[in-house]
């Protein structure tokens, strides 16, 4: 195994992808990038190989964006779980919200619950909405439940009781009874004490389902390297393995969150407070909108299962480089959601793959050179042209290049729709914002999308191909907790007590050394009593008054006579991210390099474009499109009408050519 550098890395960010595992290391005062082919069967092998090659030692801090939890859920390869729940409600997990995913299917299918009926065990108890025990849980009932779980041979247990967010006493009593079984126990009231039983129970079940698998993975990693490990969670910050193992459901969006956090920093460093982010990978594209802070949402679905935990608001659409193009019998062109994956991959990988977006980009000349992913994959141009032939014929075109333009247009349209979902659909105006393009192919779609959305600038960050690993490296340590309280906004003393208790719990999860210098924020979900819709408000003085004002601003009226209810409170705390401590100065400029030439098709015409390796991009004057910039594992297409200049931080900033 060859080592990349002599100097041992001080800190390393790792991001596991479908095709490659990316590493960014700080070593010898500079950033080092490394790509290792992923090992999907045993992802720790690729991670450990990379860490070894980078010389990770006892003093190295490794921050890891992991897909183990996500893949275990997608492949349904988790643990045998038992659910203990309020008697009479054992089937809630299966009934869900009773809506069917496909409106017009004659044979509607639902996602099978992670726990079958036989292991959903009812226990006699009942809490009321105010937290009063309407039916107390007896010690005997708790014992019987534990015995039933034991008989079910479950490898992990989830406990979800009605109204446990209001009073967790019964769930805790069950946890004590279950402790002697020696299997991991997830309490819904500890994990996400919020109103909405189905989503809360399902989140607890998913957590239990993932615990053994993630535990094995992280144990394997810890044993394989002496480095200090931290795991990136769905909020973009990190937590130590002990915490990550207890609540693996918090890392389902680990990779996208790290990338978004990095993109946000890039935009800010270039002077943009508002930005759209575009991370185009092999099978999917992740989008988000940032304005002064990282965007958040209260809950989301992963693989058809609800996760009732705050996550960064990243929208994912199944359109990426590997998305398959096909023409239906009526002649309509479809791109995705099917993907060629890593194997066989797009046709241009030369392994007999189908026609994909990447093949279209190759045929259009947008991907120059003989190799992909920084030289790790040979590029078979002839194969790409060959597979586009039938697509062109079915569309009634004479040349494959015309079909390629069509495929690109549809892929762009799907990405545009995704960007609109996170911006326009949430009343954020994309005009005047920057578009941060990263991932292997983000830079190839950026100019078209910025044009369609009215963005002023495109930002192409340094290390765009491994930005998620960079985000993992730079992210701070972070914990967040929320809890439904359903208090009147005027009960300030009770609110203060609840907030303090939550803050205390959050602080306790940090290592003693991290507690000083923590940034702590209080948030609240507030609504008019009797309504079912909340507005997120920062905590602090006069919550009631600020809520009326905000309601008036958003909906045009306020009902000042009506009671205001605080549904959920939240505390978010973190150590500052480590961007300032990273050496993000651009690599030394390569002088005297002459660009290569490449024929590129754009809007139906063939143009001659200059191809610049990133370090050689001239700094003295803007680089005018049409041009292509190649980076390690990422490509940027500068369309005609756009020009790029090098920002002092190394980011390429594209604007419209005056």
């Amino acid at each position: 195994m060859k080592r990349v550098r002599r100097a041992a890395a001080r800190a390393i960010g790792v991001d596991t992808g479908g095709t490659f595992t990316d590493f960014v290391a700080v070593a010898g005062g500079r950033l080092v990038v490394l790509k290792v082919p992923s090992t999907p069967r045993a992802p720790e092998r690729a991670v450990l190989e990379g860490l070894a090659r980078l010389g990770a030692g006892r003093g190295t801090r490794v921050r890891h964006g992991s897909t183990v939890a996500t893949n275990a859920l997608l492949e349904r390869a988790g643990a045998r779980v038992a659910l203990v729940t309020t008697a009479g409600f054992e089937d809630l997990l299966e009934i869900g919200r009773q809506d069917r995913p496909d409106l017009y299917a004659l044979a509607p299918r639902r996602v099978e619950p992670l726990v079958p009926a036989a292991r959903r065990l009812g226990v006699r108890e009942r809490m009321g909405p105010a937290g009063a025990a309407l039916v107390p849980l007896t010690a005997a009932a708790a014992r019987r439940a534990a015995a039933a779980v034991g008989r079910s041979r479950a490898e992990a247990v989830a406990v979800g009781l009605l109204h446990s967010y209001a009073n967790p006493a019964h769930e805790r009593r069950l946890a004590r009874a279950l402790a002697r079984l020696g299997v991991p126990v997830t309490l819904s009231a500890t994990l996400c004490p919020e109103v909405r039983e189905y989503e809360r129970f399902a989140t607890a079940v998913t957590n239990a389902y993932l615990t053994p698998r993630v535990s094995t993975y992280l144990d394997g990693l810890s044993c394989g390297t002496p480095a200090r490990l931290e795991i990136v969670l769905s909020h973009g910050g990190t937590a130590p393995p002990a915490l990550a193992v207890r609540e693996p459901v918090r890392q389902l969006l680990s990779g996208p969150a790290a990338g978004l956090a990095a993109a946000f920093q890039v935009a800010r460093a270039c002077g943009f407070e508002r930005a759209l982010t575009l991370d185009v990978g092999g099978t999917s594209t992740d989008c988000a909108y940032v304005a002064g802070g990282l965007p958040r949402r209260r809950a989301r679905e992963v693989a058809g299962f609800p996760v009732l935990l705050p996550v960064l608001d990243v929208h994912t659409v199944g359109a990426g480089g590997g998305s398959i193009a096909r023409v239906d019998q009526g002649g309509l062109l479809h791109v995705g959601p099917g993907s060629a994956g890593a194997d066989p991959g797009p046709a241009c990988y030369g392994r007999g793959g189908p026609a994909t977006v990447t093949d279209a980009l190759v045929v259009l000349g947008r991907i120059p050179g003989e190799a992909l992913a920084g030289g790790a994959l040979a590029l078979d141009r002839a194969a790409a042209t060959r597979v586009l032939g039938p697509v062109a014929r079915r569309l009634g075109y004479r040349v494959p290049a015309a079909a390629a333009e069509g495929i690109l247009a549809i892929a762009d349209a799907r990405m545009e729709a995704a960007l609109r979902k996170v911006s326009v659909e949430q009343a954020h105006d994309p005009r005047g914002a920057a578009l941060v393009a990263f991932g292997g192919a983000g830079g190839l779609h950026a100019c078209a999308l910025a044009g369609a959305l009215g963005c002023d600038a495109v930002l192409f960050p340094l290390h765009a191909g491994v930005l998620s690993a960079l985000g993992a490296l730079a992210g701070g340590s972070r914990r967040e907790k929320s809890r439904s309280v359903l208090l009147d906004a005027r009960e300030t003393a009770a609110l203060e007590r609840a907030w303090r208790a939550l803050e205390h719990a959050v602080r306790a999860e940090f290592a003693p050394g991290e507690r000083r210098g923590l940034g702590v924020e209080r948030w609240a979900e507030v609504r008019y009593r009797g309504q079912s819709h909340e507005i997120a408000m920062p905590g602090g003085r006069d919550l009631e008054g600020r809520f009326h004002a905000e309601h008036e601003r958003r909906y045009g009226y306020a009902e000042r006579a009506r009671g205001v209810e605080v549904v959920t409170i939240e505390v978010r705390a973190g150590t500052p991210p480590g961007w300032d401590r990273l050496d993000l100065a651009p690599p030394r400029a390569a002088r005297g390099v002459r660009p290569a030439r490449q024929r590129v098709r754009h809007e139906g015409r063939w143009l001659a474009a200059a191809v610049w390796p990133r370090p050689a991009v001239p700094r003295a004057r803007p680089l005018r499109g049409p041009a292509i910039v190649t980076d390690q594992g990422a490509t940027l297409w500068i369309a005609p009408g756009w020009s790029a200049r090098v920002h002092p931080t190394g980011t390429l900033v594209l604007g419209r050519t005056p």
């Binding site: 299966e94 009773q98 809506d99 017009y104 299917a105 002649g331 079915r394 359903l486």
Partner: protein, 534 residues
């Protein structure tokens, strides 16, 4: 191949692009409505739909929401068109089933979209189920004898003129409903959704040109029309009959027959309801728009595929619903349940006819009822009135090769349930149990899906309305499969009976505090003869 691909000046790429654009506009309207509405029925249960229409009121695109809304919306736009000429910033409101609506709780807004000078180029419409619009019982679905008891009837009128809300109209509406604050907020949310759709179409026109956008809408309709004709060409020619029935009309008369004669051939589908029951005194009458919506839904399901759902898709569909029958009611018939119950039975009858035309492709009947529960009264905690509305899913019919899904909304609805914890916070009610009704699916080689059992305790005296179906006869099985078990309604704690008194499928009663209402939804029908157990 290329001749088929092109539609006017639009090729397969341009059509796919515009299909996405129009659909996105409708979907974005739905998201805006869901985000800003206040009632749980819209916010939590997503009981609303949005769509885009061309200048002549023909459906261009819709967001996949509630089938019974979508198929009937064109009638609302047609009714609104009569109010023209329009100015930018106008919005028409209506709920009158006899003038573009379906049943009174569904309030529809229609907004003209001006992309140039002169006349509107498009219309956008949104329909939402409002939890109360007045009438004899909270929830506005009483067991009425005529529409005037069912609630406030709004013919097409302007709710907004040139951007200004018509306060007199709004005041009139709010004075006639039980929960005016919530209605005002939900109507404001609907107006917001309309503005969202309008804005989006204007943006498209600016980028791609008004004329191009209009041409694209027509090209998409042509495309869907061709796709449907191609699909129909694969079906056999002939005539098939099927009949199903509602248990009763809610006032003791029944069964209420729905008869279908399906004719396939020459690229057309004709669904003739001649022979169906005359309209009845109870509220199960459907207006013609609902019947048409049910037929359009079935056609879409049977043809499968992924053609855009627009006016062109249904040009080949002819619906014959004789006026004055239960499938094309005339005023002043009560219609509250026509939308929620009769629509389901129409689907069962039309699918049944298709099952005869295409043996081995169509599944057995699904639960065939929305199991509507409406509870209202005075909330002692706030003193104000409350109106709670919920529907329950049931078992799906089994098909050739698959077991029916359990505990899921079927056919003409797809609303979610209200979370129990949210429900218990918002209303003086307690859920005693919610379970899958095991064993309720019809037996067969493939089993029908199971229904749901839900028991609710009243914490205050309240007026309870239940409108449910398939209580007398279960959903039919096919190819030797047995029918699903019929649903059941019971009330405990108001009579001396300990197990609870069994109640009819449709009833309305004032129940005391402590009464427990149990609603069990039907299982789906089985498919194929069950193998005998040894």
């Amino acid at each position: 191949m290329s001749a088929r691909t092109r539609s006017g000046s639009f090729d397969g790429v341009a059509l796919a692009l515009y299909d996405g654009l129009f659909a996105a506009a409708a979907e974005e309207m739905g998201v805006a409505l869901m985000r800003t509405a206040h009632s749980p029925n819209i916010k939590e249960r997503l009981d609303h739909s949005c769509a885009v229409f061309d200048a002549r009121g023909r459906l261009v695109a819709q967001a996949a929401h509630i089938p019974v809304h979508l198929g009937s919306l064109p009638r609302a736009v047609e009714a609104a068109l009569a109010l023209g000429p329009f100015r930018p910033g106008d919005a028409v409101v209506l709920n009158d089933p006899y003038a573009g609506g379906t049943h009174l709780p569904d309030i529809t807004l229609v907004t003209p979209v001006f992309l140039g000078r002169g006349r509107p180029d498009f219309f956008v419409a949104s329909r939402a189920h409002h939890a109360d619009v007045g009438g004899a019982a909270p929830g506005s679905m009483p067991l009425a004898r005529e529409i005037h008891e069912e609630g406030l009837r709004i013919p097409p009128v302007f709710l907004q003129r040139a951007g200004r809300t018509q306060d007199d109209v709004l005041r009139l509406v709010l004075a006639n409903v039980r929960t005016p604050d919530e209605r005002r907020a939900d109507l404001a949310a609907q107006l917001g959704a309309q503005a969202t759709g309008t804005r989006r179409l204007a943006e498209y026109a600016k980028r791609r040109g008004r004329a191009e956008l209009i041409r694209a809408a027509h090209a998409l309709m042509d495309y869907s029309g061709r796709q449907v004709r191609a699909g129909l060409a694969k079906l056999p020619w002939g005539r098939w009959r099927f009949a199903d029935a509602l248990d009763d009309d809610g006032l003791g008369r029944g069964p209420v027959r729905i008869a279908v004669t399906l004719t396939l051939g020459r690229g057309r589908v004709r669904v003739d309801f001649t022979g169906s029951s005359a309209q009845v005194p109870g509220p199960v009458n459907a207006v013609e728009a609902v019947t048409r919506a049910a037929c359009a839904y079935v056609l879409r399901c049977v043809l499968g595929g992924s053609f855009p759902v627009n006016d062109g898709a249904f040009r080949a569909l002819q619906v014959i619903a004789p006026a004055g029958t239960v499938v094309a009611a005339r005023p002043p018939a009560a219609v509250a349940a026509g939308n929620v119950e009769t629509s389901q039975r129409i689907v069962d009858a039309v699918l049944g006819a298709f099952a005869r035309a295409l043996p081995g492709r169509i599944p057995a009947a699904s639960c065939g009822t929305m199991n509507n529960v409406l509870i209202g009264g005075a909330d002692p905690r706030g003193g104000g009135p409350f109106a709670y509305y919920e529907t329950l899913g049931g078992g799906h019919g089994a098909g050739p090769g698959w077991h029916g899904a359990s505990a899921l909304q079927a056919h003409m609805t797809n609303t979610r349930n209200t979370p129990i914890e949210a429900l218990e916070h918002a209303y003086p009610l307690r859920v005693v149990a919610t379970r899958i009704r095991r064993g309720s699916g019809g037996r067969g080689r493939f089993r029908g899906g199971d229904g749901i059992v839900r028991a609710l305790e009243l914490l205050v005296p309240a007026r309870v309305t239940v409108i449910s179906e398939r209580r007398a006869r279960g959903p039919y099985g096919l190819a030797g499969g047995e029918p699903g078990r019929p649903g059941e309604n019971r009330v405990q704690g108001y009579s001396i009976s300990r197990t609870g008194e069994r109640l009819p499928g449709k009833f309305q009663m004032d129940l005391p505090r402590g009464a427990v209402l149990t609603v069990a939804s039907p299982g789906g029908g089985g498919f194929g003869r069950a193998r005998r157990r040894r």
